[in-house]
């Protein structure tokens, strides 16, 4: 029931091509699935920042930059949407998670004088949610991910006055605890969580901004066809080096009316909602929201007059911005059994990819003081046409997709200058637009093989050719990828998932004076899970990025390292 809202939203999503990419590699934390994806350009800077662009999605933006209704319960970190750190309550269970980047010295530490490797950092989590007692339940969780933290820790630690985490001294990119109560029955699912959180947010200037939320309170309620979310955040900002302190009290949330079960069967499906933010700033807060508030009403419409035709529209507007996302899909009638062919068209137009984000960033470093405008004038328009097909023969399935897209007014960053501080480079200027057409063609092909529930295999490859002013792209995306995934379920209780992938070069053009190329590489991830369904127990171990070179994927961020994550869970 409670998930159906977002299933609905997912159905109405405007990404026409998804779910063909990754094996069941367990993400180290909710929202970090992109680490194990390479069917596009997925560059990870930290658990709180990733550039995630699926090849074939069209446009040059990453998915997390774009606001969509299905992200209503995601976190807004600076100007992008993020699942991590997630405050979505778990199902009734008790769980523990730990892991580490490989390569700590342990006892080698006391005998290694020279060539000492950088510290390797862990992941830590523990929590529970009780079974329901007359509908009531309680939950608590502490979680932090210290990966992607060691390189920049020595720089960041001078900005804050303490270790900026609940555990350890690695200056993790987030550290979060919450506890709360909930009530669930057939008609309502509601919860209130109270907690505290340390976060480092990646800004447009490439600075990492420390945010200490004390407290953070989040309430959710799903009832009838409504979904309500509200959060209060008392966020503390600081820069010890510059003697700056600030505080932002913020209330944000959303109310959504979704199309009900009866409505979903009809020809016309209508959902509508409103998202909002109200902020009150004191002292030095490094960003600003116009009028200290934003209210964003939106509606979603699906028209499906025939089985072979459907059209979706999402439209949102307020006094500052508007955003439209629409698509039309036609299933071509074919006489060949099991062969499906789909022709589609989609469009995204709007004044801003994320109309809920702040409007400016205040930059001050060295002798430079600048206001970075985050909301550019004008509008962007993206068109995409695509054709896909899929065929199934016995235990084989294969398919492909080809698309053409064109975008004008794509968001970019006009750099006025760079400031160097130790080994890092920061930029100032304004978010702007590329007022010429960027065009792209994409092609993907995949093959599935399976053997009952026991074995599934997928080979997937894709390419993309982009024609445009790529020197002004924030990221020039990878041109091609190939991925092989395999999932085994042995004796219905032991799962092994593998994912072997190659992604070609990607390039950051605007975050440093010399473009930073993220070299193409092979990645191998694996998850092993032993389940004991009778006892509701599962033990999971994941190896992440085993083959890959340990490189920095985002300017000013940290190394992506080989790591192991272990997870033990007992469900009630």
């Amino acid at each position: 029931m409670k998930n159906s809202l977002f299933c609905m939203a997912a159905v109405l999503a405007f990404v026409p091509f998804c779910g063909v990419s990754h094996a069941a590699i367990d993400a180290e934390m909710e929202g970090m699935e992109a680490v194990s994806r390479d069917d596009g350009t997925f560059l990870i800077g930290s658990p709180t920042y990733q550039f995630d662009r699926i090849l074939g999605a069209g446009g040059i933006h990453s998915e997390s930059e774009l606001w969509t209704p299905q992200k209503l319960r995601q976190r807004l970190l600076f100007n992008r949407m993020s699942i991590t750190p997630s405050w979505a309550p778990f199902e009734p269970s008790v769980w523990v998670k730990t892991g580490n980047e490989l390569g700590d010295m342990i006892y080698q530490d006391v005998i290694t004088e020279y060539g000492r490797p950088e510290n390797r950092t862990p992941i830590l989590e523990g929590g529970f949610r009780t079974p329901s007692f007359k509908g009531f339940w309680a939950t608590a969780r502490g979680f932090q991910d210290d990966h992607y933290a060691a390189r920049t820790a020595s720089y960041r630690k001078k900005i804050v006055e303490d270790e900026f985490a609940f555990f350890g001294a690695n200056y993790p990119m987030f550290s979060s605890v919450y506890a709360g109560l909930g009530y669930t029955n057939d008609f309502v699912n509601a919860s209130v969580l109270v907690g505290e959180e340390y976060l480092w947010e990646y800004m447009e200037s490439s600075r990492w901004m420390p945010v200490h939320m004390k407290p953070r309170i989040e309430a959710r309620a799903d009832f009838w066809n409504f979904s309500l979310t509200a959060a209060f955040e008392d966020a503390l900002y600081q820069n010890v080096l510059r003697g700056e302190n600030g505080e932002r009290k913020e209330v944000n949330g959303s109310l959504l009316y979704r199309c009900g079960d009866a409505c979903e069967k009809g020809m016309l499906q209508l959902s509508a909602g409103i998202a909002f933010r109200f902020v009150d700033d004191e002292g030095t807060v490094y960003t600003e929201l116009d009028d200290n508030h934003v209210v964003w009403p939106f509606m979603q419409l699906r028209i499906a007059p025939f089985n072979w035709l459907k059209a979706d529209v999402m439209f949102g507007m307020n006094d500052a911005d508007w955003l439209v996302q629409d698509s039309v899909e036609i299933s071509l009638p074919l006489a060949v059994k099991n062969l499906g062919v789909l022709v589609g068209f989609k469009n995204i137009s709007g004044t801003r990819l994320n109309p809920l984000a702040d409007d400016r960033e205040f930059f001050a470093m060295g002798n430079v003081e600048s206001v970075i405008e985050l909301s550019p004038d004008g509008q962007m328009t993206l068109f995409q046409g695509y054709l896909s097909f899929a065929d199934t023969v016995a235990s084989f399935s294969f398919g492909g997709r080809a698309s053409f897209w064109a975008e004008k007014g794509a968001e970019t960053f006009d750099v006025d200058g760079f400031v160097e501080d130790r080994e890092y480079e920061f930029r100032y200027g304004n978010v702007s637009r590329i007022d010429s057409w960027i065009k792209g063609v994409t092609g993907e092909f995949w093959l599935d093989v399976w053997l009952g529930d026991m074995f599934k295999f997928r080979a997937l490859t894709g390419f993309e050719r982009i024609d445009g002013d790529d020197q002004r792209f924030e990221v020039t995306p990878a041109e091609y990828f190939v991925a092989f995934t395999g999932d085994w379920l042995i004796r219905k209780s032991f799962r092994v998932s593998h994912s072997l992938r190659y992604r070609s070069d990607a390039r950051w053009n605007l975050r440093s004076s010399d473009p930073m190329v993220v070299k193409g590489d092979w990645f191998w991830d694996a998850t092993f899970e032993q389940m004991f369904p009778k006892y509701g127990l599962s033990f999971t171990g994941s190896l992440i990025h085993v083959l890959a070179d340990e490189v920095i994927q985002v300017p000013g961020a940290d190394y992506d390292r080989v790591r192991i994550v272990c997870y033990i869970r007992k469900t009630f």
Partner: protein, 219 residues
């Protein structure tokens, strides 16, 4: 230290001899399959989900850890103590989980703390190969968590030993021989001999661990 080592060596040798005569104990395949004739049991379908965990044992264990290779210059041999949990997993295979603690004294000079607190967690599988019974050979993964015996976190971060001032964690793998040598009133006594490699940098870290355990079945 020498008498302790001698005792362990003697126990090790004795275990091999005793093992030849020791009655098959609770480590054997369960009644889910062994109640049938051997020829049938090979063919008998075993319900994995019912078999796993249908027997379980808890244990206490104490012994000594010996550094190998360049680790000899880093730390001294160290006593450890811990607890274990072993469970039926599949005919001829047991799963096990161990936790133990050791205070590891530093041998290298110039380190501003005398020792390191070490917590180890291991998860693995034992194989009861019929040619070796009642010995079992096993392997698995280990997680090693360490922290220096010091309160001076910020004073010595860059130099040798500095990283241990904060928490350090590393994974690795191990192989072991489990040698039960006697049982008395439901309690089994035995030896675990375990070779372990941690995936540390700049070199891998190897240790040998020899421990004596007492184990009791809990269901």
């Amino acid at each position: 230290m020498k008498p302790i080592r001698t005792l362990f060596a003697a126990l090790l040798l004795a275990a091999v001899a005793w093992a030849q005569n020791a009655a098959p104990d609770s480590t054997q395949s369960s009644e889910l399959v062994t109640s049938k004739p051997a020829a049938d049991s090979a063919k008998a379908p075993v319900d994995t989900l019912a078999y796993a965990f249908h027997k379980a044992y808890i244990s206490i264990e104490g012994g000594e850890m010996y550094p190998f290779g360049d680790l000899v210059d880093a730390v001294e041999n160290s006593f450890y103590g811990g607890i274990g949990f072993r469970y039926s997993y599949w005919p001829d295979f047991d799963g096990f989980i161990h936790f133990n603690y050791a205070y590891v004294k530093v041998r290298a000079e110039g380190i501003p703390f005398p020792g390191v607190h070490q917590f180890v967690g291991r998860i693995g599988l034992d194989w009861h190969w019929r040619l070796l019974r009642p010995l079992a050979i096993g392997a698995g993964f280990t997680c090693n968590w360490t922290r220096a015996d010091s309160d001076e976190e910020d004073k010595y971060y860059e130099g040798r030993g500095g990283m241990l001032l904060d928490n350090e964690t590393e994974f690795g793998w191990f192989a072991r021989v489990n040698m039960p040598f006697t049982s008395f009133k439901g309690i089994t006594a035995g030896l675990n001999v375990l070779w372990e490699q941690l995936w540390t940098l700049p070199e891998r870290s190897n240790t040998l661990t020899v421990g004596f355990y007492l184990e009791r079945r809990i269901w």
